[in-house]
Amino acid sequence: MLAEKYPLETQNILAKYPPDQKRSAVMPLLYLAQRESGYVTKAAMQDIAALCEMSVTEVASIVGFYSLYYDKPAGKYRVQVCTDLPCALRGADEFLSKLCENLGIKVGETTPDGLVTVEAVMCLAGCDKAPMFQTQSSEGITYHENQTIESALEVIDAWRQQEKQA
Amino acid sequence: MLKELGRGMWTTLRSMFEKPVTIEYPEVKRPVRARFKGRHELKRYDNGLEKCIGCSLCAAACPADAIFVEAAENTDEVRFSPGERYASTYEINMLRCIFCGYCEDACPTEAIVLGDNYELSFTDRRQAIYPKEMLLEPVRGEGKTTPQKTEPGEFIRSIPLMENPKD
């Protein structure tokens, strides 16, 4: 149960909204739930629905609508490469395919060690610094701009090192 | 007068040596034309699955109201045709049918085809109603008879996928 696991955070989030507008708290609560396991589990959706006095289906709809919420497990780090037009003009497609090639996976897949999931996403507002990607993990969201395939692999290697040490 | 009689006799005499226009039916059968519209057949795909998906459009198109179709749902365990729907009952009343071929035109899967057979006879009105078993063509070649057990996800579509123009 979310409220039992993170009583303080849940209370703080709920306190921000008027008691008759509890459903407003759904977004931060979903973030909280996602931090836990990298995606929003069905059980978490049920918890949040109960906390916000909404139906589970409504909570799931929100998870589905926003591209930063996930309802399926993936790697520890999500590498999200923008492939919209301005990025594509600066070689984002090639960057993405090379990255996948180097990691030995296809777009949307996770590396066998469960560390990295590569995804193609829509505009991340980094058009002038393309090719670029953002990473999403329990540490939050980080932008990596003006990337080459080498620099991207360096970033991923750094994660691998970090993982080994841990 | 004699002249007329002679001409008549001549005509008779001449026709005695001509090839007869009649044929010895049923021992001899005259071949039908390419677009002849005879008794209906329900076709199968090469794998034996029925082309008919029980959509009832033939029945809707039929001006004589001779066709009766009832549909049911396919499963992968018991599959008659590709997709979700098949004809659980398919009957044509041959007494009502006027062999116009509208059913052929209406069929989205080219399942019903008016064949070459014109030898329809019955001694009873009930016999004139041809059920699905009579109308379905026999399984050819490698095909299996229906119902078949199929792999899940193999035959999900009733109607073949549309393809882009090739030119």
Binding site: K42, M45, M54, S55, V56, T57, E58, V59, A60, S61, V63, G64, F65, S67 | I53, G54, C55, S56, L57, A59, A60, F68, E70, A71, A72, E73, G83, E84, R85, S88, T89, E91, P108, T109, I156, R157, S158, I159, L161, M162, E163, N164
Partner: protein
């Protein structure tokens, strides 16, 4: 009074209230603007873009603020650079709307092309094919061919069950959101929703069971494509092959207008069978909706367990007999019984049946009684809602009191209409011993303890001041003030936790409250009974009265009992003792099934289901409505009124037994409230908005869905009884007993004979249950979802325990018609069982 504005649509001058949307304004003058996502019963969203029109507004001179005139002196019209959606743009004065220009046509063509990019075009196998707005609008406005690549079509799952009642075909969905909006806006059961975005958008449900709403079937009617279909009609037939017959739903007292679609079928051995039930438009009763019980619960009429021949007890066994023999025997025994004849009829019968029953019984001076657990039908005839009443009109200024009824379970369409009235501003007061779903929309909630129903309502008659009356929560005072001050007020009373005595007291209290606050004799004012059967009100009107305690002694002497469409022994085995039934008592049962009562009968007579015959029901609002024969009758069965008439004939009196219309004429001549009515009058219709899809004109298929047009009668609201209201003596009623009290509640899906034969509903019906407060459960050592055994009325039963904090402490809720016979509140003993059901 709303301001009217004039505008021109496609050259036609239209005057409509300000704020009307273009689509509606155009539809009202017969101009069709194609729509997919817009629905006249819901808020517009402008998602599909199909309704694009060219909108011109009068040009205004900025300097003077006056309209600019052209050389002819007409106001100059300025058209926008782009097209507007007709479904989201309200009208304004002097507007010019063009829905047929080349620009508009080109735009619509493109929209259809877009919508079809990933549509599978599998119309031949689609259940909607033939009554599909997408098909029709594509034919009318579509391009004929697409410029998109077929390879880019999305291929999605074609068979996604959203629960066991509704199937989703993801490919066919055009993302109009009508279903999601219906569940959210109209029903407020948001159990289906959108998931993902753009082309990947899909409809999902996360409720348990899937699509957990009793209105789910309506989404298949308003779906503009074949994305949502019912499990019941899946591949059942093509819509054009179906014949339609108007009828009235017989599942609850709302009296929803329905249409039966029938077809002759080889799968049923060449019989003509009902293929589906569709709503039939009646804006004052059910609008264009019906609940799932009405839609899927009709299968009992086709059950193989139906009685097909008369049975006579010979040597202790019920053996088939001829009608002549059976009727002769019944007639001779009834004649012999004379005053000792007791007739028990139920609200499942039509007015004609009940009328004949009473005539037959009174012909020999016997006693006719209504089989019910709920009283008050005499009061609803006096202080009921007057003609002209329409829940759809109620809003600000109206108070609605719902007492002892869980409308969502008992009469879902009333729930819907009252919820909507509350949202329009009506003051909703919900009084119940436990929380119900309707409370979410209530302005006042009154919580009493079981047994204090009448007392609480009586307190409302007194409590007008702001002060609290001892023993009652302050909410009573507030609510009674709001109720008394409302311009119009309606009370719906039910039998949640009540038996005959309790509901009698409650109805009297409600009637007194209405009289005291002068909310009687006018439209949108009065008392409505939430009966358990479709025609309970009709039975009261026909003069049948329930077997109250004070009537029982005179009935114990019954020499012959004639039970029609009721199962008293199945519902209450204890009745045997109450009746003091002698072995010599001659018991005749006339029913569809071999019920518990029928098993004990001396003669069993097979009747016809309401789908096989004609008749008229009187709804809870006292609207008399006709139903027509839909399916051919089972051979060798008769309608109830005809059987009764034939018995009467053999007894030497003449009753009309051939034509139900003639029986109804007799009713009109005998029963004051029905004076002047005839079958012809009941078949009158009126113009209704919005136009709907199926039926004769099919003008509204794309507009409001596949509900049927009402062509066979909207029914007639009965006038109130002219007899002056006698002062009602409210007999006080108190529950006795200590320990756990069992109270009966009604749930929508039960194991009754008119529901259970629908196998499709079994999952929703579930096991026999009893609901307890967790504290009581703990005290008794009962775990959630475990089997318990209970002793009720001297008999033992098994049930699954449901623990629910909303159940008042000291009370066990027992659903009616679920296998545990319970007629009213009584003491119960519950023991924990051993087996745990997961």
């Amino acid at each position: 009074m709303t301001k009217l504005v004039s505008l021109t649509i496609d050259g036609k001058q239209v005057t409509v209230p300000e704020g009307t949307l273009f689509v509606d304004a155009a539809k009202r003058v017969g101009i069709d603007i194609p729509v997919f996502c817009y629905h006249p019963k819901m808020e517009p969203v402008g998602m599909c873009r199909m309704c694009l029109v060219d909108v011109g507004r009068p040009m205004i001179d900025r300097a003077t603020g006056q309209p600019v005139m052209d050389e002819n002196g007409a106001p100059k019209i300025q058209f926008g650079a782009k097209l507007d959606t007709a479904c989201t743009t309200p009208v304004s004065e002097g507007m010019v709307v063009i829905g047929a220009s080349d620009k508009v046509k080109a735009a619509r063509k493109d929209i259809v092309e877009f919508i079809l990019t990933s549509h599978p075009l599998d119309c031949p196998v689609c259940d909607k094919g033939g009554e599909c707005p997408l098909q029709n609008l594509t034919m009318a406005y579509g391009p004929g061919e697409t410029r998109f690549l077929y390879d880019d079509k999305l291929h999605l799952a074609k068979q996604v069950p959203l629960g066991e009642l509704i199937y989703l075909d993801r490919e066919r969905c055009i993302q109009c959101g009508r279903c999601v909006r219906f569940q959210d806006e109209i029903v407020d059961d948001p159990v289906i929703g959108f998931f993902n975005r753009g082309r990947s958008l899909e409809i999902v449900t996360h409720s348990d069971p899937g699509f957990d709403s009793v209105f789910s079937g309506n989404t298949t009617d308003i779906c503009p494509v074949g994305a949502l279909t019912t499990a019941d009609f899946r591949f059942g037939a093509r819509p054009w092959e179906l014949k339609s017959t108007s009828s009235i739903c017989s599942q609850c007292p709302v009296g929803c207008n329905i249409t039966f679609n029938v077809r002759r079928e080889a799968a049923s051995g060449g019989k003509t069978v009902i293929k589906r039930v569709m709503p039939r438009q009646n804006e004052t009763v059910n609008e264009i909706w019906i609940c799932d019980k009405g839609r899927f619960g009709y299968h009992y009429t086709e059950s193989d367990d139906r009685l097909t021949t008369p049975l006579i007890r010979k040597n202790g066994e019920l053996t088939p007999a001829s009608w002549d023999e059976a009727l002769g025997l019944v007639a001779s025994r009834f004649s012999a019984a004379g005053e000792g004849l007791l007739t028990l009829g139920s609200g499942r019968l039509s007015n004609e049946d009940l009328f004949n029953l009473r005539q037959l019984t009174e012909g020999v001076k016997g006693k006719a009684a209504l089989y019910t657990h709920m009283a008050g039908g005499d009061l609803t005839a006096q202080v009921g809602v007057a003609p002209g009443t329409d829940f759809g009109e109620m809003g600000k200024g109206t108070a609605i009191l719902v007492a002892a009824s869980d409308l969502y379970e008992e009469a879902p369409i009333w729930f819907l209409r009252i919820k909507q009235a509350a949202e329009r501003g009506a003051t909703l007061i919900v009084a119940n011993a436990r929380p119900t779903k309707l409370e979410a929309y209530a302005s006042h909630v009154i919580r009493y303890r079981y047994g204090a129903e009448a007392e609480t309502i009586a307190a409302m008659t007194v409590d007008r001041g702001p002060t609290t009356v001892a023993g009652h929560p302050s909410s009573v005072a507030d609510a009674s003030k709001a109720f008394a001050e409302a311009e119009n007020a309606v009370i719906l009373f039910g039998s949640d936790g009540l038996g005959l005595e309790g509901s009698q007291a409650l109805s009297a209290a409600c009637a007194n409250l209405l009289v005291a606050t002068r909310h009687v004799g006018r439209a949108n004012n009065g008392l409505v009974g939430v009966w358990s059967r479709a025609n309970d009100q009709g039975a009261w009107d026909m003069g049948l009265r329930p077997l109250t305690v004070d009537r029982r002694p005179e009935l114990q002497s019954a020499k012959a009992i004639y039970v029609v469409a009721a199962d008293p022994f199945g519902d209450d085995p204890g009745l045997l003792a109450t009746f003091n039934l002698q072995p010599a008592t001659f018991l005749v049962v006339q029913d569809l099934f071999l019920t518990e009562t029928a098993r004990r009968a001396d003669v069993v007579l097979p009747a016809q289901a309401f789908t096989e015959r004609e008749g008229a029901y009187t709804s809870g609002e006292r609207r008399v409505q006709r139903f027509y024969p839909a399916a051919p009758a089972r051979p060798d069965t008769w309608p109830d009124f005809a059987i009764t008439a034939q018995i009467a004939q053999k007894m030497g009196s003449i009753l009309e037994g051939r034509v139900p219309a003639a029986v109804f004429t007799q009713i009109a001549a005998t029963v004051a409230a029905y004076a002047g009515l005839s079958y012809r009058k009941l078949a009158e219709t009126n113009d209704q908005w919005p136009s709907v899809g199926s039926g004769v004109r099919r003008k509204g298929l794309y507009f409001s869905g596949t509900a049927y047009e009402n062509k066979q009668g909207v029914g007639i609201h009965l006038p109130l009884s002219p007899t002056p209201l006698p002062p009602v003596n409210m007999q006080s009623f108190h529950l006795q007993g200590e320990g756990l009290l069992a109270v009966p509640v009604t749930c929508l899906y039960d194991r009754g004979q008119t529901v259970y034969p629908s196998a499709l509903l079994h999952q929703r019906i579930g096991e026999v249950w009893v609901a307890l407060h967790p504290a009581d459960a703990e005290r008794l050592g009962v775990v959630a979802n475990s089997r318990v055994s209970l002793t009720l009325g001297g008999a033992e039963f098994d049930a699954t325990a449901r623990l629910d904090e909303s159940v008042p402490q000291g009370v066990a809720l027992i659903p009616r018609s679920m296998g545990i016979p319970i007629n009213g509140p009584e003491a119960v003993e519950i023991r924990a069982g051993e087996r745990v059901v997961l």
